[in-house]
């Protein structure tokens, strides 16, 4: 049966565990065909965040007891203040940056590595590469992007980081094993002796909606699906994202007006109505945006739920 907006469940923000910064807005040097927010060099619907905005939000976040911070875009390293922002964030908590790896520079990475060594917290890099070879990656991310991104991975490893490679799955499930195995070998050849790989599902939004198809009307979360469901698996249960146009519920839905929760953290704490197709993908796969994977066990219920 097709759910109507009235039957979409609401999800409360249990606590603000992860705080995201849409630090480069929707501006990216690449134009990936599966990008769920259609980032490109010309998409200025969301603009860069300034250093002062990030600093102010970090200070505000203390009272919420934020556990870790994430920086995304667009391509975060297009923001000229990013290195300084990441170094500052390491004073507050663990920090992760999601990059396409194609614009990294050695001097930035050396400074960041020193900052991490002086911090009690980790600095994680997640590099988006959609397969272990140009023939899988480049049709989606653009000609030559595999080679350029792998060069970025080598730079990260030389600087002493252990990047997490995230792949959006555009292949059949049966190919996953061989693809992972091949990618581990390739990464070792590029100086990454401890390959860390994370597979993401496709989100049928933005450019991906044009490339393949959008969500069907039945691909929605219903109240029944939330009964007994471990809500910790949903990012909206414990995260928010700060953008140039206010605070949104999650990094995936920033182009949906109803996903704007307020102008700053204090007015973004209300429940969210899970009426989007992307909510259904999150429900299926668990928290796909964070590094940590401890949520994947529905039988251990959170005490608060």
């Amino acid at each position: 049966m097709m759910p109507t907006p009235e039957t979409s469940p609401h999800i409360e923000l249990r606590s603000l565990d992860e705080l995201w910064f849409q630090v480069a807005g929707t501006v990216c040097n690449l134009t990936c065909h599966h990008c769920f927010i259609s980032c490109s060099p010309r998409n200025h619907s969301f603009e860069f965040l300034s250093y002062d905005q990030v600093e102010r939000t970090l200070r505000e976040s203390l009272e919420y007891g934020v556990r870790e911070y994430y920086f995304t875009g667009g391509e975060p390293f297009l923001n000229p203040d990013l290195t300084r922002m990441l170094i500052r964030t390491l004073d507050f908590g663990p920090t992760t940056v999601l990059t396409n790896g194609t614009v990294l520079q050695d001097d930035w990475l050396d400074r960041l590595r020193r900052a991490e060594q002086n911090s009690r917290y980790s600095l994680e890099f997640r590099v988006s590469i959609d397969g272990p070879s140009p023939d899988i990656n480049d049709p989606i991310r653009g000609n030559g992007t595999f080679v350029r991104a792998m060069r970025g991975v080598s730079r990260l490893c030389r600087a002493g980081f252990l990047p997490i490679i995230t792949m959006t799955q555009t292949w059949d499930d049966r190919q996953t094993g061989p693809i992972l195995s091949r990618f581990r070998d390739i990464l070792k050849q590029h100086g990454c002796d401890r390959p860390r790989l994370k597979i993401l599902p496709r989100l049928k939004l933005g450019a991906e909606q044009q490339r393949t198809e959008g969500y069907g009307v039945t691909e929605r979360v219903t109240p029944d699906m939330m009964r007994g469901f471990d809500r910790d698996q949903l990012l909206c249960h414990h995260s928010r994202i700060v953008t140039s146009r206010g605070v949104f519920v999650c990094p995936i839905l920033i182009e949906s007006p109803d996903a704007r929760m307020g102008s700053d953290l204090s007015d973004s704490m209300q429940p969210f109505e899970m009426k989007h197709g992307a909510c259904w993908t999150c429900w299926q796969y668990g928290t796909i945006c964070t590094n940590t994977t401890w949520m994947k066990s529905p039988t251990v219920e959170a005490r608060s739920s």
Binding site: L62, P94, S122, E124, R196, T292, W294, S297, A302
Partner: protein
């Protein structure tokens, strides 16, 4: 008071025996286990009599909930296929060799233990106060977050385990988070010993910790040497994976690596 806090035992009865002896020698007034009694090692039923005989109160870990209730898996929270493969071998072995009496006992363990000692409120849990299988790693847990957990749990000290590597952080207002480490396997540092934590409160705290005007506490992390070669031999006889045995013999983790944050991963060999 001196409270010995044992993290995951993982069926390592040999290390538990040594830890009990060590804690007694140091004058422990009470001993607690923070859960995950089985896993990884051989002969899970050898752990229970030691806990009963020495009056060691236990918190229920995710493994204990799984074994006690005969669930499908250990609920450790891994997602990497290789990590899950080895976790399942260990879980199937432990489930098959835990007695019905052991399962009944595991089933009824509390999810947390609260103590009031020398003016301090202490909360013993497995992962975090809010979730049994939450990993709290030193490099990916902000101080502000730990402060919030203490506030929400209405406690001065939180003690947990689950992640397998000991650490602690002093918080504002004289509060503290302690991860006791584990007795079950070494800490991915190339050494074969395992660890537990001794929490000393009131007059047993260090002199410097007693000067603050607040209820006082100090934490010692205690290395425990035990006959790891004998454990490896027992594991071999039980046909447990070579990868587990290698960890016991070398002190380097060979499985469960993908869950580690980069800093903790870099500290290891693999």
């Amino acid at each position: 008071m001196k409270l010995a806090l044992f993290g995951g035992i993982y069926s390592n009865a040999l290390a538990l025996t040594e830890a009990i002896r060590d804690a007694r020698q140091r004058g422990a007034d009470a001993m607690y286990c923070l859960g995950d009694l089985g896993a990884f090692g051989p002969h899970p039923d050898r752990v229970f009599p030691l806990l009963h005989e020495h009056d060691i109160a236990c918190v229920q870990g995710n493994y204990d909930d799984s074994i006690g209730n005969e669930r499908d898996d250990c609920q450790c929270g891994y997602t990497d296929p290789r990590d899950n493969h080895f976790a399942q071998i260990s879980y199937d072995y432990t489930l098959a060799r835990t007695s019905d009496a052991g399962k009944r006992w595991l089933r009824q363990l509390p999810r947390e233990i609260r103590l009031s000692v020398d003016g301090l409120r202490i909360l013993l849990c497995h992962g975090s106060p809010r979730r049994t299988n939450e990993f709290l790693w030193e490099s990916t847990t902000s101080t502000a977050f730990l402060e919030r957990l203490c506030r929400q749990a209405d406690t001065d000290i939180i003690a947990g385990t689950h992640s397998g590597i000991h650490w602690m952080r002093r918080l504002s207002g004289g509060r503290c988070y302690v991860n006791a480490g584990v007795l079950g396997r070494p800490e991915n540092d190339g050494k074969t010993n395992v660890w537990y934590a001794m929490l000393r409160t009131g007059p047993d705290a260090d002199r410097s910790d007693r000067m603050s005007g607040r209820p006082a506490w100090s934490v010692d992390f205690v290395p425990v040497s035990y006959d790891f070669r004998q454990l490896a031999e027992q594991m071999r006889q039980e046909s447990l994976p070579d990868e587990f045995i290698e960890t016991i013999l070398t002190g380097w983790w060979t499985t469960c690596l993908e869950i580690l944050p980069s800093r903790e991963r870099r500290a290891g060999r693999w």
